[in-house]
C-alpha cells in the first residue's frame, strides 16, 4: 500500500500547489489589487517556485524535513505577509509530522499536520474566523478533514471534503469586512471582494486533494 504522507507525496503536494498558484498568479494578484497591495500572486509564485527548486536540489530525508524546507524557503523568498504565514503553516505541520512512524495512522497524522499548521497561522496572524483571511478557507478544511476521518471515511474522500470546504470558505469571504492586514484600512469598502489569502489557501487544500489521493 502506498503511503499517503511519505516524502514523495508531500513533495508532489507542494509541486501541485506551486503549479496552481503559478497558473492563477494573475487572478490572485488581481484580487489583491482590489483590497491589498497587488503582490500576492507574484510573491507566492516566486516563493513556491523556489520551494519546488529547493526540494529538487536536495531531496529531503523524511516528511518533516520536506515541509521544513518548504517553510524556510517561503519565509526567505516570499517577502510579503504570506511568507511568514505560509512559512509558519508548513513549519508547524512539519513539527506535527516529526514523530509519525505508524503507517496505519497516516490519515490522522495528515489531519493533525493540517491542524497544527492552521493553529500556527492563527498564532502568527492573530486573526479570527470571519476576519476575511486565509483562515476562512483553512479552518473549514481542517474541520471537514477531521470530521470525515472521524466518520470513518477513507483519506481520499476526506481530502476531497476538505477541498470543498476550503472552496466554500473562500467564497464566503466575499461579503466579509477585512479586519487584518492592509485590507483592514478599507473597512466596509473591503466587502464585496474575495480574499486573496483565502483563495490561495483553497488552492493549497485543492492541491492536497489532487496530490495526496489515489495512493492508498
Amino acid at each position: 500500500m502506498a503511503d499517503p504522507v511519505d516524502t514523495a507525496a508531500l513533495t508532489a503536494w507542494v509541486g501541485e500547489f506551486a503549479r496552481l498558484v503559478h497558473e492563477q498568479r494573475d487572478e490572485l494578484t488581481a484580487l489583491d489589487a482590489a483590497i491589498g497591495d497587488a503582490d500576492h500572486g507574484a510573491n507566492l509564485d516566486r516563493g513556491l517556485t523556489a520551494a519546488v527548486s529547493a526540494l529538487d536540489a536536495e531531496p529531503p530525508a523524511d516528511p518533516a524535513a520536506a515541509l521544513k524546507t518548504v517553510a524556510t524557503t517561503l519565509i526567505r523568498t516570499v517577502g510579503g505577509a504570506s511568507g511568514p504565514l505560509y512559512g509558519t503553516f508548513f513549519l508547524r505541520a512539519a513539527g506535527a509530522l516529526g514523530g509519525v512512524t505508524d503507517p496505519t495512522h497516516h490519515g490522522t497524522a495528515l489531519a493533525a499536520a493540517f491542524r497544527a499548521g492552521y493553529d500556527g497561522v492563527v498564532a502568527r496572524g492573530k486573526a479570527e474566523p470571519g476576519d476575511k483571511t486565509m483562515l476562512d478557507a483553512l479552518g473549514p478544511a481542517c474541520d471537514a478533514l477531521d470530521r470525515a476521518l472521524a466518520d470513518g471515511e477513507p483519506l481520499d474522500e476526506a481530502l476531497r471534503a476538505a477541498a470543498r470546504a476550503a472552496a466554500d470558505g473562500r467564497d464566503a469571504t466575499v461579503p466579509m469586512v477585512a479586519r487584518k492586514g492592509r485590507a483592514s484600512y478599507l473597512g466596509e469598502r473591503s466587502a464585496g471582494h474575495q480574499d486573496p489569502g483565502a483563495t490561495s489557501a483553497a488552492l493549497l487544500v485543492q492541491a492536497a486533494a489532487t496530490a495526496l489521493t489515489g495512493r492508498g
Binding site: 517577502g79 510579503g80 505577509a81 511568514p84 502568527r124
Partner: protein, 136 residues
C-alpha cells in the same frame, strides 16, 4: 557590551536611513545595530531568516531589541523567533514602538549602557515626546 538593536523594514533604504539618523544622535559612541530589510532580490519585503541572522549578529549576550516597520515585518520578526535557539530567543524583545522614534530612543539608551528592559522601555515610549509637544 551594550544591548544590540535590529532594524526590520520592508525597505533597505528606509532601514539604512533610520540607522543613519539614530547614529547621528550618538557621535563617537559604539552601538551594535543590524539591519534586516528588503526581500531576497533587493525589492520591498521582509525575510524571517535574515532577521534571525541579524539578531544572532547583534546579540553579545546582553540581549537584543528589534524595531520593525509594519505588517509583514512584524509577522516575519515573530517567525524569526521560532528559528532562533532557545537561549538567544529568551534575550530578544520585539518592540511595539514606531520605527524611527523607537530606534532613536533605543539607540541613545543602549549606547549609554542601559540594560535590555530599559532600552525596550525607552523605545516603547518613543512617541511620548512628540505627543507631549504637539498636545502642549
Amino acid at each position: 557590551m551594550p544591548v544590540g538593536l535590529v532594524v526590520v523594514s520592508h525597505s533597505r533604504a528606509l532601514a539604512d536611513a533610520a540607522v543613519e539618523l539614530a547614529r547621528g544622535m550618538l557621535p563617537g559612541r559604539e552601538l551594535a545595530v543590524e539591519v534586516a530589510a528588503g526581500d531576497v532580490d533587493g525589492g520591498l519585503g521582509t525575510d524571517a531568516t535574515a532577521i534571525a541572522d541579524a539578531v544572532t549578529a547583534a546579540d553579545s549576550g546582553d540581549g537584543v531589541v528589534v524595531l520593525m516597520d509594519l505588517g509583514s515585518a512584524v509577522l516575519s520578526a515573530e517567525t524569526a523567533l521560532e528559528l532562533l535557539d532557545d537561549d538567544v530567543r529568551a534575550r530578544v524583545v520585539l518592540s511595539p514602538a514606531p520605527l524611527v522614534e523607537g530606534l532613536v530612543g533605543a539607540a541613545v539608551t543602549a549606547a549609554a549602557g542601559a540594560d535590555r528592559d530599559r532600552v525596550a522601555g525607552e523605545a516603547a515610549r518613543g512617541l511620548a515626546p512628540k505627543q507631549a509637544h504637539l498636545a502642549g
